[in-house]
Every structure is written in structure tokens, then in C-alpha cells.
Symmetry: C2
Subunit: 237 residues, 2 copies
DNA sequence: GTGTGCATTTCGCTC
DNA sequence: GAGCGAAGTGCACAC
């Protein structure tokens, strides 16, 4: 729908938007989007799972989208509706993206020496008290190594994350076991580099492969993104 | 635009989407959005600042959106175009949101005893080697206190963040100065709670106010979001 | 332009 | 349902 409207939102936060011509998109999965002529992010929205209802109040069209947990409400009140379209969407809804962290993991499992000579991966997503470790293994002297993967340049948060994993594992293993931490990422910011140095962690500059190294049927990566796909085409509405 | 199309993306990552009917939104600021009938997030997109171009290739309409830094390209190739609309967007483009972290900060500056009795704020966004501290002040015994604000329930990352600030400040102040850290957030997860305990940090359960406590003209918050607004209405196209 | 952190983040997955 | 972390995160602001 396109037309002159006001928008009120109340839920996790609250907001109010004065009158103007905007695009309102209502999806059958319960998503609502209000777009202006700028930005990638909608000026207001409601997540999937909401319920849309339309009614005429005071002679004006009001579209209300509500969800629970958390309780949230979006009200779009139209002065004037310029256009309404019902669009029969079909075909694939999701894409396989290449160059993800998962691709970087495959790259490292294929060639562990990219981390360092003699590195031997033992597990992916290894559980620790601080959360799952991307790749866990041992160095050429048998010392445990925690590898944290990032597909892009990282800041201090990633250094902190790796530090938490290393610390959790050191606590879990026999007293005195030295646990090493390696951050694999294309690059790190200065502050991240300092943090790594402080904590005795290291950085290996490495990017995800340009195109996926994942064999199409790759077996057990505990997290292989399934491709949702709808093949029916051209329904009418 | 709505019609049957394929979508190819290459840039920070890469993806490919088979044929199907989708909605393509092109904004004058250079944003491009490809939406299916599910999810709040577009299946493909191009950020603001990109350049859109349309051309007929092999008898089919191709819309290409390109940007630099980083180099990214989005190609949408249409089999069939079901609908094209040019929509004259007008009115406000952004909203003031209530219930943000900034509102929580105002709440605390108004009533510092919400943090703890005797707490005295000294600065907001105080710079440290680890980054800016949300609220810096002193407790009833004059000890420096780092306050980190979160508008919603937090996980281990927030505990790590606060820990970094406390550590950076302790390093910066005279040797032996004890620096306290307080995480102000509605609640914390178990793991976050453990991390806080380990690092000797504390948690004060507090939420942003239900509606903004910010006086409409609030003066010097170093980050008062300006309301961009366009008042011209109903341009035609 | 890069760095840093907030966001009604969204999203997917595991427990 | 909650927790946890990735994302082509987007986005604004400071340096």
C-alpha cells in the first residue's frame, strides 16, 4: 500500500511518525514494513509472526499489526491511499551466501596449516562454559588451541570473545594446562590487536575463500544452512 | 517493481537466487531492496549510496545496482515485469524512539541513587583506552565507578565490555586505584552473571523509562539524535 | 575514511 | 522459550 499516513509504534520501545506518503508492505508471514525514500532500514516495522488487521476508523483506513511476546503494536493510519497492490510472490525465498564464517571454517579444516604448521583440528563448536568454540585443536607440541573465526576485520569484541573461551577452557582442563588462543580474521583494529597482545592471544590474517569451498553435500558440519525453497510458480491473487 | 526475476549479488560476500516473483524497491538515495513474501530482512539488497541503472539485455530488463568501497554489485534480471510504480514519498523520514539506552542514561543522571546510594556521576562517554564509558562517576567512598548501560537483558558480551572498560581505567589511574564496574540493565543471563561475579563487577536491574524522560530540548547530550524531516508534501512523479 | 558501539537489531540454532 | 553468536548486519558519531 502507498499513501499518506501516520505511524505509531509501541512495544520494546515506542515511536511516533507524523503524516507523509510512505510505502507499507504487509507479508503473509506477519511481517510489516514501513519504508520512506531513504535508508535500507524501514522507518517502522513489525517482525514476522505478527497479525495484521485493517479497519476503517473515523472514516480513515487503519492497519494495525500486533504480536505478543514481546507485546508490540504498530498502527498505520491513512489519510489517503494512493495505491494498493496484492502481489503473488513465488520462487526461492533464501539464498546460499558464499564467503561466510562457515566457509572460512571449511577452509581451515581443509588446510589446518593455514592456522599454523602442525595445527590439528579436533572439534568444531566445542562446548565450553563460556560458549561454543569455533574450532578446537592442538598445536605441534600438543597444547590445546582455541580458534575463533571471523569473516571480516574485527574489533575489541572479538578479542574479548576469544579471551573468554580460552579462560573457560583453561579452567576446565587440568590445572596448569596452557591454552592458546588464535583469532583467524582478515585483519584486526589497533585496539583489538592490543587486547590480543595483553591476553597473550594471536592473530592469523586469513579471509573466507572468494567462492565457497564447501562441497555441495558436505556432511557433518553441525550447522549446514538448509536452503528453503519454493518451486511452485505464478500463483494468482 | 514486481515481476519474475533472478538475483545475483557479489561484494562483501556473494549469492545467487533462482527465478521467482519478487518485489524490487529502488530508492532515490541508492538503496535497493529485494523482498520475498517472508521475513523482515530483504533476500538481497544494496545499501544507500549505490547507483542504480536499468538496461535491456537479451530482450530482458536488467536492473543493476553498484557501489564502491566496498565494491559491490547487485543484478536483478526480469523475465516478466508485472508492475512498475513510481511513488512520490514525502513527510518525515525518521522517528524519535523512546526507551533507548540514551533514555536510560537520562534516567540515571536524573536519579543517580538508582545506581546506588551516594553515586555521583562525573561524566558521560568518558574516553578510555578501551573505548568510551557510558557513565563515569564515584561512589559514596570516592572510588571511581564505571557504569555500562544496556536497554535490554544482556549476555556475556556486555560483561566483557564492562570488564574491558574497568581494566582500561584501572591502568590509566594511579597504581592500586580500585575501579568498580556496574552493569545497569533490566536483567542478565546466567552466564553473564557468572562472568560479572568472576570479574568482581555488579549488576543493577533497571530498565529505560516507559516513555522518554528526555526534556524535548535537552541540551548537551553528546549524542542527541537529530530528527531529519521533510515537510514538503505530495510531489508528483 | 576507519573505529567503535547501539539497535524495536534480525536470524538461526541449541538446549 | 531462552540463550548465544553470526550477519553482505545497518547506522550514527568520534577520531
Amino acid at each position: 500500500m502507498f499513501g499518506r499516513c501516520t505511524v505509531e509504534y509501541d512495544g520494546r520501545a515506542a515511536s511516533s511518525l507524523g503524516a507523509g506518503n510512505r510505502l507499507l508492505i504487509l507479508k503473509p508471514d506477519g511481517t510489516a514494513l514501513v519504508h520512506t525514500d531513504e535508508q535500507r532500514t524501514p522507518v517502522n516495522w513489525q517482525p514476522p509472526g505478527s497479525e495484521h488487521r485493517a479497519a476503517v476508523r473515523d472514516g480513515r483506513l487503519r492497519v494495525r499489526s500486533v504480536r505478543e511476546n514481546p507485546d508490540e503494536r504498530l498502527d498505520v493510519r491513512f489519510d489517503r491511499v494512493e495505491q494498493v497492490s496484492a502481489l503473488p510472490v513465488t520462487g526461492g525465498r533464501s539464498v546460499d551466501v558464499y564467503g561466510s564464517e562457515e566457509d572460512l571454517r571449511h577452509r581451515i579444516l581443509d588446510e589446518p596449516e593455514l592456522v599454523e604448521p602442525g595445527f590439528e583440528p579436533a572439534a568444531t563448536e566445542r562446548a565450553t562454559a563460556a560458549g561454543p568454540v569455533d574450532v578446537f585443536g592442538h598445536d605441534d607440541e600438543g597444547r590445546p588451541v582455541v580458534v575463533e573465526l571471523k569473516r571480516r576485520r574485527v574489533g575489541p569484541d572479538a578479542a574479548g570473545q576469544l579471551g573468554r573461551y580460552v579462560e573457560a577452557l583453561a579452567r576446565e582442563l587440568p590445572d596448569g594446562t596452557e591454552v592458546r588462543g588464535v583469532l583467524v580474521a582478515p585483519s584486526v583494529t589497533d585496539r583489538a590487536g592490543e587486547l590480543l597482545a595483553e591476553k597473550g592471544l594471536s592473530h592469523v590474517p586469513l579471509s573466507p575463500p572468494a567462492s565457497s569451498t564447501t562441497p555441495s553435500g558436505d556432511g557433518r558440519g553441525s550447522t549446514t544452512a538448509p536452503e528453503r525453497s519454493t518451486d511452485a510458480d505464478d500463483g494468482a491473487d
